[in-house]
Every structure is written in structure tokens, then in C-alpha cells.
Symmetry: C2
Amino acid sequence: MKIIMAKHAGFCFGVKRAVDAIEKSLENSQKVWTIGLPIHNPQEVARLEAMGLKVANNADEIPSGAEVLIRAHGEALNVIESLRSRDVKVRDMTCLFVRKAQDYAKSLSEKDYHVVLLGDKNHPEIKGIMGHAVNENNVEVVANEAEAEKISRYPKIALISQTTQREERLANVAAILIRKCLTLHVCNTICKATAERQDAVKELVTNNDVDGVVLIGGRASANTGKLRDIIKSHNIEVLWIEDENEIESNLDWFKNKNTIGIAAGASTPEWLIDKIKKQIGVRS
Amino acid sequence: MKIIMAKHAGFCFGVKRAVDAIEKSLENSQKVWTIGLPIHNPQEVARLEAMGLKVANNADEIPSGAEVLIRAHGEALNVIESLRSRDVKVRDMTCLFVRKAQDYAKSLSEKDYHVVLLGDKNHPEIKGIMGHAVNENNVEVVANEAEAEKISRYPKIALISQTTQREERLANVAAILIRKCLTLHVCNTICKATAERQDAVKELVTNNDVDGVVLIGGRASANTGKLRDIIKSHNIEVLWIEDENEIESNLDWFKNKNTIGIAAGASTPEWLIDKIKKQIGVRS
């Protein structure tokens, strides 16, 4: 069986920066916390927890004297401000692309734009971006074109994207919103790493005669989900797995496949990709 | 034969305001000029010229002591400024919707946006809007989606529409440009009268069982051209005419038609619509 890797896969710059910072902090202290999972990859979280990382469900659980790392997804402004006012050390590892989206939400809501976020309203990144607008009543989240159609008319609308969205959807939603306002300000905050990984997956399934793609990434990873959508839209079979054990339970999937592709989300660590690649090699 | 009028047809607010101003000026003076045709309707121009209006080919032809009315389409800033510095009286009758587009071109080019105008690069309105940007090298005109695809990448793009464009095309072009920049600022400067006339024509051809539409308007009228496009896109026959004489030379067109619609552009005067309606009534 021939295996072709997507040209861009695995940790993006922002995730690598946050994980490196957690590792560095753990070298000096055993009171290192994150609020929520530091990354949407259970295997990488388990590795960091084994090194001593503690994961709080919310900011209130962070004990005095702790060091808290704001994950790459970012946090609402009031959460960060309340932490800074307490006896905890805050290291803000918000991804620089997410930071940009947060800054837009703040500055455009200050300029009386009705802010529309394109993304998943339950995703921490979107919650954090919402939490940067000066008035949360003037912010709403749409997941897709159908939800954008339901937006009311406003004189000025600002459209900001979750960094992991597909550009095509952002373009479609912009085209819908321009009919609902006099001024539409669109911030293309889709991050380069996301676009690169999406383009690489598209290239993988169109320029190679693959019979299926093994997609490696956490089930909660938004950007991995978008990669699955792209592969499926080309009518190519996807096997979405989190770890090497899932190869064993899906051996049937590999039967009669001559060429398979491997792709991975921006929150999938290199060591996990390597492990899975080896396991596929052994089994094929 | 049944005749159904489009719900909105004929002079828009901006054209009516400009024509009224010309008539008023002509009551007091016989040195009243416009630069270029005051309106894209030859019959109405002939009526105003018969009242004494003089039409210059360019600003240099305006004689000293004249009163010059800036037509609803507007003019480039340098033309108006040079007129104001001379011994002529300037009355600026630029349509308020066009004025808005001009103001956007000025302010957004000042903020380092690359300004893209959606419209016809040979139309006086677009020339006037271009002539309000602070740097004409940073302005370009696209007529449609295909031309928008050819635009280079820029950090910030502003998209401004000719007031007579179709909203659908503005939306499509916005969707193309968002992929070419980080920030896209879209000004929906399509005027209400244009949208109303376009909606009225759409309603005319979809909700009524018309066998064809007589469209009344000047051949050079951009907004009338858009109405023709809409009718044709519904596979309905169009007879585009400028005056009542064209009814006589197109009697064949009316044969075997049970129901026809009548529509008219924003530069078509009421008296001309009435005349043509009567002529159709006589002939059918």
C-alpha cells in the first residue's frame, strides 16, 4: 500500500508556541494550570498532564500562587482581567491570529458595528472573541449560510471569522450579509496554517489517486473537522482517528486500498503522526 | 391586450432633483450649462435644450459668467474645484447616493485601502467617484466577477458600487475579493431607487403571466440596462425603446402577446412613459 502525506499537517505555530510554553513552565513549577483543555488533542493533553499540568474547569478553580497559561484559543477579556487581579501568574498564550480576531471584535464593536462571528458558538475560541466585544448584545454567532440569512438588517455589520473556518464559507456569508447593511466590514481572520492544511488536503485528494484518507486529530478539534468536510466533499473515504489503537479496530477499512493519504489537524502533535504512520506501515 | 406597469418606474429622487434645478435656473438665465448630457435620456435632454440648456463636452468649454449645474452622476473633485476657481456659478446637483460613494472613495483611499469600484469604467458616475480618491493609482474598476478575479492581493480592499449595480453582483464580487485581502470594507452604495426598480421588474415578470416587457429608457442609461438583464434572465422578451416612434417600427413584437409589462429606468421622464403607454393602447 502506498502512503502519501498531506504537504502541511500537524501543529501550527500558535499551538506549538502554547505547548512549548506549558512545557517550559512545568520545568520550573508544579503549579501550572490551564482553564479547559490546553489543546483539542487527548493524547497530547495526557502527555502534558503526566508532566504535571493541571486542568481547571473554570477560572474560579485556579488556586492562589498558581501559574495559569491562557491557551491558544484565548479567553474572554473579563476572565483574563479577573485572573490578573488575583494572586496568580498569568501567561497569555493566545494564538496571534485569534488575538487579531479579538482585537477586531473590540475595535469594531466600539465603532458601533453589529458584530457577526462566523464559527461554532460553543467553541472556546468563539467564546473568547465574543468576550472582547464592548457590548455582548451586539454580537452574534452564525455557523453557516442558513443562519446568516436570518440576521436582521443593521446600518453597519462587521463579519469576523473563527480562525479555522473555510474561506469559501466566509465568502458565502459575506455575500449574504452585504444585502443586510449599508457597510460591511469583513475581517479575513482565517489563519494561514488553517488555509495551508485545507489546501494541502485538497491537493492530496485531487492530484493523487488516493482510495481513502486517514485523518489524525482530536474529535473536538474544529480545524480537523473542516479537513474531514473537504475530503468528503471530494467523495473520498475518511478514517478519522485519534490514536494508533484505532488502526487495529479499523483494519477492514484498509482492505483493497492501494493508495491512502494521511492528513492531520493543527492540534495533532508530530510524535502522534509518526506513531500512526509506523503502525499503518506495519499493518499494510 | 392587458398592460401591467412595474410598481416603481421612471425618475428617481436624484434625477428629479437635478432636472428641477436645471428648469429653475433656466427660468432666470439663458447661460445655463451642464458638462456632458444632464441625463441619459435623449428626449428629456431635447426638452431641456429647447428651454435653453447648453451642453458642454468638457469643463473648458464653459464660458465665463455661466451657471454650470453638476449633473446627478457627479464629477471628479478636480473638475469641480477648477470650476469654482473660475468666473462661473457652480450648482452641485450630484445625487446624494453618488455623493456617498464619492465620500467613501475619498475617506477609504485616505486610510490606505486599495479601492475597487464595481461598475462601468466609461460611465460618468464611475469617473466622478474615481476622481474623489486621493490617489488614482490605488483605484481600479471591475465590471463583473471575471474582472474581480484578476485583482491582485492587498492587505486592505474597499469595494464601492456604482449606484445602479445589481446587489447580486456586488455580493458575488465581495465574495471574490475577501479571498484577496485581510480586510474587506464593502460599501453597499446601490441606491434605493435602483433596488426598488429592479425588485419591481422582478416582481412584474415572476408574479404576472407576461408575454413580454416594453422597457422605456435611454440607450446609454446604465440602470435601464440592468433592468433589461433582469427581464432577460427570466427568459421574458424585452422591447427596449427610447420613444413612442419605436412602437410603430416594432408592431410585429406585439403580435400574439396577451399580456405585456411596462418598465422604465430612473432617467425616464413621466411624460414619456405616459406618451408611450397611450401609443401602445392605440395600437393594441
